[in-house]
Amino acid sequence: MISLAGRDILHAWGKFLFTGIGLGLLIGVTLTMAGVYRGMVDDAHVLLDNSGADLWVVQQDTLGPYAESSSLYDDVYRSIRGMDGVARAANVTYLTMQVRRTGGLAQRDVRAMVVGIAPDGPGHPGWPGFLVAGRHLTRGHYEAVADVASGFSLGDQLQIRRNLFTVVGLTRRMVSSGGDPMVFIPLKDAQEAQFLKDNDAIVRQRARTAANPALNRPNVPGLLDAVLAAQTTNPSVNAVLVQLNPGVDAEAVAEPIRRWKRFTVYTRAQMQEILIAKLIATSARQIAMFLVILAIVSAAVVAFIIYTLTLGKIREIAVLKLIGTRNRTIAAMILKQSVALGAIGFIVGKIAATFWAPVFPKYVLLVPGDALRGFVAVMVICVVASLVAIRAALKVDPAEAIGG
């Protein structure tokens, strides 16, 4: 038996191809949206992986350091480092801000997560796991290692708050949960960037403190200087990252820190839950809404196209019915055309998504499983969308071929 659907497609291949391309671009957008969500989840996992931590010690009753601000003293890590099961513990600060490239090159602002890392050396919690160019931080101040996604190059001068940093190393896939590239700088500099006020504010604060009779007592020399010194030092960090010895139960170490040191501690699973279920939940719902709308639009487009193509063949369908073609043969013809259109659209969409995904500013992760699910969804949509056209075709009276 002749494939009526195949012959019709071959006969009007241009119409099918261009319609398929249009539908494909729509499917490509849908696959990309799914890829954006996967990218966000992957960014969250990468953030946790790259921190090198098994436990996150943060300010009590906060979801810090990624989901909420958290502040704790920078000597907390010492007492944690001495606990049983703890291999390493390190202070860390995170601050998402605009980092400005200065110097001879064109000035450029990049939104980045500035990570302050303790001067322990590579392999310690918080440090970038690997470099793709240059070297790690070796000096205590004014050096930076940047993710390549920031667009910075070795030797670039970066302005972070009032200080200038030189990029000495480049790393890859070190991003925040929001997909912003990371810039690693020494902890002391990061603390200053995060907590130190500007000069004018410091002057005003000194004046206010000096004007306070309780802090500026004539008969207590040195009190005012001590207060001012306390106000301008930066003893806070956002979190302490803890690495455990192999085989140690994370919860067994976390529990005493919560109980006796009065901090909130998250294990890796809990931090993953915060990042994925809380931090990107709204974005995920937003993307899910887009996916639903795009699926509906795709279904409407396929239904409209197949319905229009079918209406254009009413006379031929009447002739086919008159000469004894079974309804199921006609229904199969329309169904196959719809499915073929979906298949063309999916192939175009997959290719388009693969090509344009790397151009997106945020990481787009195209997962084979999503493509498979997308293909099944497209096929289901095409089958459902063809029902309207099939109904119209089956209602055609064979007498229409005769007229009268």
């Binding site: 038996m1 006969h11 000469i323 004894g324 009276d397 064979p398 005769i402 009268g404």
Partner: protein
């Protein structure tokens, strides 16, 4: 089951009626249709607009159901105050050929497959169906266009292909609905000549519904239909060769 008769094959219609609606609003589109067309014979069916030609054609084509009378096709009673055939679709496919005013070829099938589609639908192997289609195309002198698409054919060629499609399953009857309407005199006469030749060659009864004054003199027998009633008269039977 269909009831077999001892009459000759072809088509015979007796007292056929078709009523639309009920009660006061009922309309009798066909009142008393009597026709008999022998195998190999071509008859004309003529009538003014609204006389019931199209309704009769639809009844003969098993597209709509008459409300009275009998129809015998190829010696088999197919209607006797009710269909005697269960599968009307198969009846149309296998035992009735259609030729329309416009060829209505399937635009996405080539000439051969337009014809071969019918036997394929009836379950014949593609190769055999195409062989029969080629034979008919050769008989109709359009064998050289076997692989062309319908849009590449002239109007006359398209109508010949449509005739071949009507003949391909060797039906005992062909219903031709104004097959020469869009053609000039020469081509119209050529089509009627082909229909006559094919009727003789394949022993098929052909009923040609027409308004076309050019071809009416070619029929040996003509049925006039007026207000749903048929009247038979002898035609001129002008020589087509």
């Amino acid at each position: 089951m269909a009831e077999q008769t001892t009459e000759e094959p072809g088509i015979r219609i007796e007292g056929l009626g078709k009523r639309y609606g009920r009660g006061d609003t009922a309309v009798d589109a066909l009142r008393q249709v009597n026709m008999s067309v022998a195998p190999g014979e071509v008859v004309g069916l003529i009538g003014p607009s609204g006389s019931g030609k199209t309704t009769l054609l639809k009844c003969l084509g098993a597209i709509i159901e008459p409300t009275a009378g009998t129809m015998t096709l190829g010696g088999e009673v197919i209607y006797d105050n009710g269909w005697r055939i269960n599968d009307l679709r198969a009846l149309r496919r296998d035992r009735i050929g259609f030729v329309f005013q416009a060829p209505y070829l399937i635009p996405f099938l080539n000439v051969t497959d337009n014809i071969a589609l019918l036997p394929m639908l009836a379950g014949q192997p593609n190769r055999e169906a195409r062989r029969r289609a080629r034979e008919l195309l050769d008989a109709l002198d359009v064998g050289h266009r076997a692989l062309a698409m319908p849009s590449q054919l002239s109007g006359g060629e398209q109508q010949r292909v449509a005739i071949a499609r009507g003949l391909v399953n060797r039906p005992p009857v062909i219903l031709a609905d104004e097959p020469t309407a869009p053609l000039d005199s020469e081509r119209a006469l050529a089509v009627i000549r082909i229909l006559n030749d094919m009727a003789r060659q394949f022993e098929t009864a052909i009923i040609v519904v027409t308004h076309d004054e050019k071809i009416i003199p070619t029929f040996r027998r003509i049925y006039h239909i007026r207000d749903g009633i048929t009247y038979e008269e002898q035609g001129e039977g002008r020589d087509l060769h």
